[in-house]
């Protein structure tokens, strides 16, 4: 209980301290300018459109996945999980090789004598956000379909309901219940999107609050402005996070999606439609990843040395971040107290750039923040991963206590003995998963580090961003491939260790 309280205070301080510093600094910095309000409007607009488009396109995909069995179905579901740990910068590099100025699409358009398309701006941002959130929406919707009792589909089949009626009477109620939650979750995620808007957005017409914070920092070094923007971001994200937690409630874990719902409806035409829908979705998600791998493979051998040193830095930051996140998560989850876990989930209302700004303000009176960029990055990444860590550890801790707590009580197993011999052995799997997730998320993060770039300490995502900015596309692709390999590798490694530890 005492270590849990300490961890809760530490996490609360890590979130509330920077937020308080930001709000305090913003207090004397005046009212938001028209440009700031434009950033607010664009932030809300792009998040709303991203959520709507992702859910709209996810519907037919999830429906097809729910009612079909075919070889490769679990691979398809696995693919839908990939964008979650795919580094944002890599996905953008992949999307640029397709839709960029000299990308595949424009090359093809050039052959036909058509004018090139421009991926930068609102539509580019939406494209990237749909790439990340369509798979998430598919997984969440699939969970909803799995939750529909099989008897209802049986009854529908017996009454020979046409597909339209099945949709209206059986699936409709589930969607009405789940869609609001899914929409707000994606909306909340897209509010804090930074790297996507940094590269694909920009300009006065396509600037989000996060990007405006970054610009206030890097171009104007106007801390007051950064603080005012951060305060706006805090207000918006807090409302969205509360809405998302309220509406989405459970779920997100998406366990056991492999089992298809048994269905009896549908003829050849419907089957063809489902196949087409799934093929398009799979292509949309897999192609950017594959293209990065293909174009990157060539340049992997002669990558600049800065890429390799950045990779080393990224691995170290990821490991430190994972250790911190899992440590804090364990301490918060072990006492099984709702208050502690709520404090851990509070980070949903923070954004990396706001936390970074706040930490900068807090550290500045005592030290030069630029000297501690990597430590700040590791801490912010750990805090940002905390909700996912808690969500994977908590159920198993409760499960172990429910199943064996009485026996442990009767044997006087308390404190360390209880942790070592009751909880830890039952927790290896989720611990491995959580550590892998936290490490991979940190690995691919381009957030705080972009706020305080220094020439000699770059993480791999920042290095890729620099290469992209210098139009060194081959080197960027090679580095992206390296980063993807490291992210998935570090996740798979931890996950595997967790799975096999108790064998």
């Amino acid at each position: 209980m005492i270590p849990g309280s300490v961890a809760a205070i530490v996490v609360a301080a890590l979130i509330l301290g920077p937020l308080a510093a930001v709000l305090f600094r913003a207090g004397g910095a005046g009212w938001p300018s028209p440009a700031d309000w434009a950033a607010v409007r664009f932030t809300l607009l792009q998040a709303a459109l991203s959520a709507l488009l992702s859910a709209l396109f996810a519907l037919p995909v999830a429906r097809a996945l729910a009612r079909r069995r075919f070889p490769g179905r679990s691979a398809m579901i696995l693919l839908m999980g990939a964008p979650f740990i795919l580094p944002v910068i890599v996905a953008i590099a992949g999307l640029l090789t397709i839709f960029g100025r000299n990308g595949l699409v424009n090359t093809a358009l050039g052959w036909w004598g058509l004018p090139p398309i421009d991926v930068f701006g609102l539509h580019g941002v939406l494209l990237a956000h749909v790439f990340f959130n369509l798979p998430l929406a598919v997984r969440l919707l699939l969970e909803g379909w799995r939750a529909i009792p099989a008897e209802r589909f049986r009854t529908a089949a017996q009454l020979d309901m046409p597909p339209g009626a099945v949709f209206r009477l059986v699936e409709g109620p589930m969607l009405r219940e789940r869609l609001p939650g899914i929409l707000t979750v994606i909306f909340a995620i897209c509010l804090s999107s930074f790297a996507v808007v940094l590269i694909l957005g920009g300009g006065p017409a396509a600037t989000t609050i996060e990007l405006a914070i970054y610009q206030a920092f890097n171009f104007d070094f106007d801390l007051g402005k950064a603080a005012v923007l951060s305060a706006l971001q805090i207000a918006i994200v807090t409302v969205a996070a509360i809405l998302a937690l309220r509406l989405a409630g459970t779920g997100m874990a998406a366990a056991g999606l492999d089992r298809p719902v048994q269905r009896w409806d549908g003829g050849a035409g419907l089957r063809l439609w489902d196949a087409a829908v799934m093929a398009v979705a799979a292509l949309f998600v897999a192609t950017p990843i594959l293209l990065v791998a293909l174009t990157g493979a060539d340049s992997l051998r002669d990558l600049p040395s800065t890429v390799w040193s950045a990779a080393g830095v990224s691995v170290l930051v990821a490991l430190a971040s994972a250790a911190l996140s899992v440590g804090l998560g364990l301490l918060l989850a072990l006492p099984r107290r709702a208050l502690f876990e709520t404090i851990g989930l509070m980070t949903l209302a923070a954004s990396p750039l706001v936390l970074g700004t706040g930490l900068f303000l807090l550290i500045r009176p005592f030290a030069f923040p630029g000297d501690h960029v990597l430590a700040m990055t590791a801490v912010v990444n750990a805090v940002m991963a905390l909700p996912f860590v808690l969500r994977s550890l908590s159920p198993d801790i409760r499960g172990a206590e429910a199943a064996h707590g009485r026996l442990a009580d009767s044997l006087s197993m308390a404190g360390w003995s209880r942790f070592r011999w009751l909880v830890l052995p039952r927790l290896r799997r989720p611990l491995g998963f959580a550590a892998g997730l936290a490490a991979a998320l940190s690995m691919g993060d381009l957030g705080v580090i972009a706020l305080f770039p220094s020439p000699d300490t770059a993480t791999l995502p920042l290095e890729i961003y620099r290469l992209l900015g210098a139009y060194r596309m081959e080197a960027a692709a090679g580095a992206s491939l390296l980063l993807t390999g490291l992210s998935f590798g570090i996740f798979a490694l931890f996950d595997r260790v967790g799975r096999h530890a108790d064998a």
Binding site: H404, D409, L411, S417, W421
Partner: protein
Amino acid sequence: MLTLDALTLRQGEFTLRADWTLERGRRLAIVGPSGAGKSTLLNAIAGFLEPERGRILWQERDLGDQPPGRRPVAMLFQDGNLFPHLSVAQNVGLGLHPNLRLTRADRETVDRALERVGLAGLAKRRPAALSGGQQSRAALARVLVLRRPLLLLDEPFSALGPALRREMLALVREVTGETGATLLMVTHDPVDAERIADRISVVAGGRADTPAPVAELFENPTPDLRRYLGL
């Protein structure tokens, strides 16, 4: 001596009263219809349920302020008596030190206990690699090393076949005879009760009856016992 002093237990709407004593070294069978509160009574003695009123005493000492692990009580539940992620030896060793820091002498004690219940050579196995009977034996081995004067059995052998269950109960009887432990066991089978126990308490209608000698009670059953046995 176990004393239930004007005890009232409550779980939601359900209440159970008991007010009696049981001499040290006795073997008490607790019988009665399902849902009558047999497990509730054991859980209260083991410290998993706080009495609403009254006290539970062992050798004149009130157990009220003692957590389950500090009570002079070893309890075997209906299931989940072994940690599935620990070896048989570790499961038994927890009875000596909950932190499993075992000395050489401790390990010998564990080995002797395993030998006593007929599990020599299976110390390194996980519970999943044991049969149901062997799992029961492993749990009994821990009861042996725990050396607690009160043993509570909440039908731990109910998933075993009749022959194996009797074998386990015979082993329990031997073990309690050797250690002088006082036994309280929930059972559904009057034959088991007659075979193992020397006292019997009928739990029915919100009351746990004063323990009576088995033979006497079966010769002259109370109305509650008659109804339970279907006589």
